[in-house]
């Protein structure tokens, strides 16, 4: 019976816009839609280069719309969390008046029966506009743009950056080798997987011996000692990104386990000041018990034994 794990990954991007897209986004805050002149065509949304020749375009912007004509459409009956509306809507390619190309956006038409190619639509503006494509909440059937009573007005400064925050929920099978590591961990044990051919011991994500191309599984489990020698380390100065809980510089170390000769990579440390972390330090595993009685590896702490003075230590990465 395969174990599947559910996880949600956030993708919070912050992007610079450049002079062309930035101009378009800034204009949105002023409830204007602009295109860029490309010969006798007007590209909407504006691009930095001629799509046919890749020549850089002059920043010759043209106001278009606000109304336009639907050139193609599809109906989204069950929107995803990333779609701009949370009720059924149409995606449409809209040729704004004065434009030579079409803009993809949502049409809030209420019902699929209201949609047809050639439909005239106009933007429904958000009250608070930040310079983002969704400053237009959606287009709506008709000729007249819709503006809320509490309109906050245009941005005070040109818009140069935009946020894009998506999240995706994944369902992923847990490889058998991961389960071997996880089960042992919960019992306060460290294990590795030993290749039956070359006898190398793996402690990471390997599901096969990458040297011998032999699949590994639970039958290859070997017990690892809980003492070892620090081979290399890094001190990480945290930057504040979503999910980052560290605030002070912290260490990650590689530990070469005794006897078995397997390296545990990127391990945390316990009661071990950053200034004292260096190759050759003898360390031991520190475990904590969680609310369910399961063991968790808190990290590695010095044993107090003398350093190992072996030049080959520093050459051990994995």
């Amino acid at each position: 019976m395969t174990t599947f794990v559910e996880s949600t990954v956030r993708f919070p991007y912050k992007r610079s816009l450049g002079s062309v897209i930035g101009y378009f986004m800034t204009a949105l805050t002023d409830r204007r839609i602009v295109g860029i002149r490309n010969g006798d065509r007007v590209l909407v949304p504006p691009l930095e280069w001629d799509p046919a020749t890749a020549e850089q375009l002059n920043p010759d912007f043209v106001d278009v719309g606000p109304a336009g004509t639907v050139r193609s459409w599809t109906w989204v009956a069950a929107p995803s969390g990333q779609h701009p509306l949370d009720h059924p809507f149409a995606f449409a390619l809209i040729e704004l008046d004065g434009a030579s190309t079409t803009l993809l956006h949502a049409v809030d038409a209420g019902d699929i029966s209201a949609m047809e190619t050639g439909l005239r639509v106009a933007p429904r503006w958000r009250a608070q506009r930040v310079g983002h494509l969704t400053d237009i909440e959606a287009f709506v059937p008709g000729e007249e743009p819709v503006t809320p009573e509490d309109d906050a007005g245009p941005a005070a400064e040109p818009v140069t950056m935009m946020n894009y925050d998506a999240s995706i929920s994944y369902t992923t099978p847990v490889p058998e080798t991961q389960l071997v590591f996880g089960k042992a961990f919960a019992e306060g044990r460290l294990v590795g997987l030993e290749c039956p051919n070359c006898h190398r011991v793996y402690t990471g994500l390997q599901q096969a011996c990458p040297v011998c191309a032999i699949p590994l599984n639970g039958t290859h489990e070997v017990e690892l000692p809980q003492t070892g020698t620090l081979t290399t380390f890094t001190i990480i100065t945290p930057v504040q990104y979503p999910g980052q809980t560290e605030t002070e510089p912290f260490a990650r170390v590689h530990v070469l386990t005794d006897d078995i000769d397997a390296v545990l990579a990127y391990q945390p440390v316990v009661d071990f000041p950053n200034a004292d972390v260096h190759p050759g330090v003898r360390v031991k595993a520190v475990w904590t018990t969680d609310a369910d009685g399961k063991q968790e590896l808190a990290g590695w702490t010095p044993t107090g034994e003398p350093d190992v003075d072996d030049p080959s230590i520093v050459n051990r990465i994995f």
Binding site: R15, P45, T74, S80, L104, Y164, I168, P175, A208, P215
Partner: protein
């Protein structure tokens, strides 16, 4: 141009959801393809894989996948965040340098990981498309309607493509969706994204594929019936679908011309992941009614994203090595509304 031939390949079973990791799927096809070519992993000089971190849900997922190829003896490796067909293209280019003889190209995707409507916007233009959650099925539906409005295709034609490919897929052990279907019954189904119904879409598929290619004499040494790559090219159009004429696929026609694809083939395997794309591609490639299109069932029978294009190459090669055909075409695509297209011409040993 160095003569390069396909000398072996392997596919995983194509299923709705596998319990295997991507690395393990690749392990299996690397083993299968090397056995098919009569070589070992040690004989492979260069490897290139196509996969997608957003599909895997894991940063640098391709690094783990290298374990499938084997790390010893050391070999040159590369990765494309594209379908494995582009990995094959890179491997083919690498062999053109003339100092390596054998390469493996792979593609892998576990599309079951998440809702495709949330994954694929991540690969779109981050300013104008991704913020709307512009998903691949919606964009395909917009192109389908353009074709319908222009009178280039009908919903009945599209259902006909679905019925024909599903019937063809009955004989394909790697098909996920197959069987006999009535066009009138298919047309009564609800829309998923109007004007696309479920049968107009490819299934969600987990799977992987690998292809071994070899240069000149090495190919002749390894295989009694090497499948020669006699033309290979790809071309891209602007990413924004709104600046393109969606009624045609100009980059497919351009790639076909560069690859020497003149329309005369026994079989064409096309990465038409939506029914309306088949007539569009057939027209761009100048394929006449005598060319058998997607006799394997094509992507509508199994769609392991990031391997689907490479599977087309395998199915086109199979027609030559195992079915006695002389000249076949494989097509792969990437990007919204057929933005980028790759054409590979295959010929048997005369």
């Amino acid at each position: 141009m160095e003569p390069v031939a396909i000398v072996g390949w392997a596919l995983t079973p194509m299923v709705r959801r596998t319990d295997k990791s991507e690395a393990r799927l690749l392990f299996d096809v690397v083993t299968g393809a090397t056995e098919d070519a009569g070589i070992t992993r040690a004989d492979v000089d260069f490897s290139c894989a196509g996969s997608c971190d957003y599909v895997a849900g894991q940063a640098f997922s391709f690094v783990q996948n290298i374990d499938a190829v084997g790390a010893w003896p050391p070999k040159r490796d590369s990765h494309v965040e594209m379908d494995g067909a582009w990995a094959l293209y890179e491997a083919w280019v690498r062999l053109q340098l003339g100092d390596l003889d054998v390469a493996i190209a792979m593609g892998s995707g576990r599309s079951s990981t998440a809702d495709p409507a949330t994954i694929y916007p991540m690969e779109m233009d981050p300013y104008y498309l991704a913020p709307l959650g512009a998903d691949a099925v919606s964009l395909a539906a917009l192109q389908a309607r353009v074709l319908l409005d222009a009178g280039l295709v009908t919903e009945r034609d599209m259902a006909g493509v679905a019925a024909r490919t599903r019937a063809d897929a009955v004989g394909n052990p790697y098909a996920q969706v197959s069987g006999e279907y009535d066009v009138d019954a298919l047309l009564k189904e609800d829309y998923v994204r109007a004007p696309l119904r479920k049968h107009d879409l490819s299934p969600i598929t987990d799977g992987a594929a690998a292809v071994i290619i070899a240069r000149g004499d090495k190919a002749r040494e390894l295989s009694d019936n090497p499948v020669w790559i006699t033309g290979f090219a790809h071309s891209a159009e602007p990413h924004q679908p709104g600046v393109r004429d969606l009624r045609a696929s100009t980059s497919t026609a351009r790639a076909a011309k560069a690859a020497g694809a003149d329309g005369h083939f026994d079989v064409a395997e096309l990465q038409a992941a939506f029914t309306h794309e088949e007539p569009l591609l057939t027209a761009a490639l100048g394929l006449g009614p005598d060319v058998a299109v997607n006799p394997s069932g094509g992507p509508l029978a199994a769609n392991p994203v990031m391997a689907t294009g490479l599977v087309r190459v395998i199915e086109a090669a199979r027609q030559i090595r195992d079915r006695g055909k002389q000249r076949t075409l494989a097509h792969a695509t990437s990007g919204p509304c057929l933005q980028q297209n790759l054409v590979c011409v295959l010929e048997g040993t005369k």
